[in-house]
């Protein structure tokens, strides 16, 4: 299962990375003579209501899903891991404040918080015309709104990572090898980087395989309700939402992105499970 998942994922990643070169058409190229076209040799999965090639849009959609999933995961790890390590290793007031903050954020339904943040970012980013943050406006514009999604998702997501890493660091900080390093004169930064980090690496990798599908789901959900990437840039979520209107006459327009999204998420889960089994020798079957 993990191998099949990895193969499918490789295909999706290839399609995403190579979309500009590999896709038969541009995502916004309209062929008004064949709207709602059935699959033919020139349009392998047919065309949508505006005469755009569905296969090309799926490939560009993969680009959106993959870039959101990967950048948000990297960003969340980059912030969450050091913060969690420090909180678990040092403890004290910083740790206490972090955990209180986590408690509060968890009281707000996740999706709702993300929707509020996303509404905020999509409205605010285009209004930044000068000042030190003007690059964010350019970045968001250049990526058709992907930057705003990544920001909204990461802003909530890093807390989860910090919480898990903190728990691991807390369990490790009184172990002998940490004590030994300290008695040999290692500074805190060296202990965290060279001794704690390698020991929490395995759970972090497993967690990352769960974070990517979660971010992909969230991006598709936001795009589904019209808060995600800016049209005409396609996202699988947008394509599902657009297809719903004509589901009774042209079900393939909605089933194509739905199946691709479902298969991608399943594959990510299988690969994640495979990694977990490989990285966790103590887990019993």
């Amino acid at each position: 299962m993990a191998v099949a998942g990895a193969l499918f994922l490789a295909a999706v990643v290839l399609a995403a990375a190579g979309a500009p070169a590999l896709s038969p058409y541009r995502y916004d190229r309209q062929d008004l003579l064949v709207t709602y076209g059935a699959p033919t040799r020139s349009h392998l999965i047919g065309t949508d209501g505006l005469g755009r090639d569905v296969l090309s849009r799926l490939m560009y959609g993969a680009r959106v899903s993959m870039s959101v999933g990967l950048t948000a995961t990297l960003l969340v790890l980059a912030v969450g891991v050091p913060v969690g390590l420090a909180a678990g290793y040092f403890g004290g007031t910083f740790d206490l404040l972090l955990m209180r903050f986590v408690d509060i954020v968890y009281a707000i339904p996740y999706l709702l918080l993300v929707v509020l943040l996303q509404t905020f970012f999509t409205a605010v980013l285009p209004t930044i015309r000068h000042g030190p943050l003007v690059w964010l406006h350019a970045l968001n514009h250049g990526t058709n709104g992907i930057a705003a999604i990544v920001m909204a998702l990461s802003l909530v997501g890093w807390l989860d990572v910090a919480r898990v890493v903190r728990g691991q660091a807390l369990a490790l900080r009184h172990r002998e090898f940490v004590q030994a390093a300290r008695s040999l004169g290692a500074v805190d930064r060296h202990i965290m980087g060279a001794h704690l980090l390698p020991n929490v690496a395995a759970p972090i990798i497993v967690m990352a395989t769960l974070l990517i599908p979660n971010f992909i789901i969230a991006e598709a959900g936001l795009s589904f309700i019209g808060l995600g990437v800016q049209p005409p840039m396609p996202s699988w979520g947008t394509m599902i939402a657009e297809g719903i209107d004509s589901i009774e006459s042209y079900p393939r327009l909605v089933i194509a992105p739905a199946l691709v999204l479902a298969a991608t998420l399943l594959s990510l889960n299988f690969v994640g499970d495979g990694l977990r089994d490989a990285l966790d020798p103590v887990m019993e079957r």
């Binding site: 999706l111 509404t119 409205a123 939402a241 998420l265």
Partner: protein
């Protein structure tokens, strides 16, 4: 138990206050509103009048207090889009539909999840277990609106067994697709937790005793093991309520159910910020209440748990 309840309710106050503050600040920091129409701009005087009507020219702290006072008295302010109506009235109209749908979804989750988890544990490491866990992985990885989309396409459009959407109450056939789509994820969560907890219980001494005194395997599993294994499931159901509540956002849109989730989606696209703020508060209240109810039910179900 009474003292415990009071303590939990008191603890909920700072949590709610933070939720309110965060949601309020986010909503008010977001520029614009539904009347910022670039194609058909409103006259400046009209916008000014609208701002006065919604107290938007007053200082932020004054709006903060004003809204809080109204909210405590049960009024959640007017909707920006549906100007004739108060957000509270809108919630009273749309929320009951979502509650009914949620109850059916939960019932489906229990009916599917409990047998699935029991079978997986009893037939551990056999094809039955693998099949159940396969269903569980599928249910956990695929978001509910994709499930709803696939169900509508297959059951309604291709096979014509069910209508594609709409709402006619809990006894109408149109409830089936949204309820299954929303309930699938909670069902798989239930099954996963039940499998783990049942495996633990089945290894206990009293199960061996029950078997040794000659009780049938079936009776041991149903009457002795399942009863104890179900206790931790009560805690999980608290998390599941959050799933069901937020699950209705997308599924209601796909299956055209006139519930609060669908209204929420309309409100986000229409930039109706007061509705977003009100719903954030409403959903938090639901989740906090459910968590308290779950903790209390724990004490009722398990005589070993006592809250001082």
């Amino acid at each position: 138990m009474g003292a415990y309840l009071v303590r939990r309710l008191l603890l909920a106050i700072p949590t709610m206050a933070t939720v309110y503050t965060v949601a309020f600040l986010l909503v008010h920091a977001t520029p614009g509103g539904p009347w910022d129409n670039a194609e058909k701009p409103l006259a400046p005087q009209v916008i000014e009048n609208l701002r006065v009507k919604y107290h938007l020219n007053e200082p932020l702290w004054a709006q903060y207090i004003l809204y809080l006072r109204d909210a405590v008295h049960g009024s959640l302010g007017p909707s920006y889009v549906n100007t004739a109506r108060d957000v509270s009235e809108i919630i009273a109209d749309f929320f009951p539909v979502s509650i009914q749908l949620g109850l059916v979804a939960m019932a489906f989750a229990v009916v599917l999840g409990i047998p699935l988890g029991t079978l997986a544990a009893v037939y551990r490491n056999t094809p039955v277990d693998y099949l159940s866990m396969g269903i569980v992985v599928t249910g956990i990885s695929i978001p509910n609106y994709v499930v709803a989309t696939i169900l509508v396409t297959v059951l309604a459009v291709v096979l014509h067994w069910l209508p594609t959407g709409g709402w006619g109450g809990v006894l109408d056939v149109r409830v089936i697709i949204p309820a299954v789509a929303i309930g699938l994820r909670p069902a798989t969560t239930l099954a996963r937790y039940l499998r783990a907890s049942l495996l633990e219980v089945l290894g206990q001494d009293y199960i061996r005793t029950a078997r040794a005194k000659g009780l049938a395997r079936r009776a041991v599993i149903l009457r002795h093991a399942l009863r104890n294994a179900l206790i931790p499931i009560a805690t999980v159901s608290g998390i599941l309520v959050a799933d069901v509540v937020t699950g209705s956002f997308f599924v209601e849109t796909v299956t055209r159910v006139p519930g609060i989730g669908r209204y929420f989606v309309t409100a986000t696209t229409g930039r109706d910020y007061p509705v977003l703020l009100a719903l954030a508060l409403l959903f938090s209240v639901v989740i906090i209440t459910m968590n308290i109810v779950v903790d209390l039910s724990y004490a009722v179900l398990d005589p070993q748990v006592r809250y001082g």
